[in-house]
Amino acid sequence: MIMLLLQFSIAQDRYALETSQIIEVLPLVHFRPCPGAPDYIAGQFNYRGTVIPAIDLCRLMHGRPCEAKMSTRIIVTSYSDTASGQHLLGLVAESMTDTIVVADKDLKPSELDLDQSRYLGKIACDKRGMIQCIRVEYLLPADVSKRLFSAGKAD
């Protein structure tokens, strides 16, 4: 089966997310900071009337925040918290300008299985090199997830 992936980079490395998991791609906006949250939580923003949190993937994976470039954009995706169900989540990454088409048989599972980076999924190879899928469901540790979304629930 052929899949369409949205391609982006985190510090020169290419990553991708299945388009079926994406609701919309947005340009970069100002975030309202969340004091006390881990540094990779970029903050919250108003998405057509709904306030949703955003994760800075550069910060998460590489330790430095995404640069404010035109190609730096936000993916609006759906995140399912074990406790409170489906939530909207924003993912910030760089060079988000293209999609790629991959056959799922070309996706090879990553041999590494580190507890801290379970969000890293299968790997595909093309002419420009490797590209690794992101598994949204493992992006947030349970405690962070709980804190981010239970608060929203309480409102």
Partner: protein, 218 residues
């Protein structure tokens, strides 16, 4: 040097001496991933001041759930006349291309055939079918001629137009009766007149139109 590598299309590509070996694969720089990447380098720049503010403000607004009008038509121009055809007939709009005459079957209306995405389709002249003088073109026009490709009861037709305005949505109540002032042959095929901006548009009745057209190929 960095500039030279970045704009290879100006040195070894189509705008340069065409010595690039990739040209054999991609025919034109426009199809080359290096060219795309080069263009996208523009997006690696910082947005202008206020751009992020603008987006933040835009995004905070509720999505306008404007009520959609139930009917739509593509608006185009033939000669001096602005005309519309129901949008659901349209297959696509392509660039102008050569029309090949059909031996022994050639007449003013049925002008020949043309190749669209590798398929050969019949081609007719809307101006001659409606009796509009196609040679009259408004002087200030910067219009680009196009070919409309339409499908009516499994027949695909192509016809050249002087200019495309685009898609126009409207409701039944927007249709006015055609005044007699519109050019002589046009009223025969129009079901009404629409107003888009300051333009009066003759909405063509597709049943009448293609019925008349089929006579030419019979």
């Amino acid at each position: 040097m960095k500039d030279a590598a970045r704009s290879c299309w100006n040195t070894i590509g189509v705008a340069g001496d065409r010595s690039c070996t990739e040209l054999r694969t991609y025919i034109h720089c426009n199809n080359c991933p290096v060219f795309s990447a080069g263009g996208r380098a523009l997006l690696e720049r910082n947005p202008t001041a206020g751009q992020i503010d603008e987006w933040t403000a835009n995004l905070a607004m509720e999505k306008s759930t404007e009520k959609r009008s139930e009917k739509a038509a593509y608006i185009f121009r033939v000669g001096t006349e602005w005309l519309g055809i129901p949008a659901d007939l349209f297959v696509e709009i392509v660039e102008m291309r050569p029309i090949r005459r059909i031996p022994h079957r050639h007449n003013n209306v049925l002008t020949g055939v043309m190749s669209i995405r590798g398929e050969i389709h019949l081609c007719f002249s809307m101006a001659d079918l409606l009796g509009i003088d196609a040679g009259v073109v408004p002087a200030e026009s910067k219009a680009v001629p196009r070919v409309c490709v339409v499908r009516k009861s499994s027949f695909v037709w192509g016809f050249p137009v002087a200019e495309m305005l685009g898609l126009h949505r409207f409701s039944e109540s927007d249709i006015e009766q055609a005044p007699m002032s519109i050019a002589k042959a046009v009223p025969r095929f129009t079901s009404g007149v629409l107003t888009a901006g300051n333009r009066k548009i003759g909405l063509l009745d597709d049943e009448l139109l293609f019925h008349a057209l089929e006579k030419y190929i019979a």
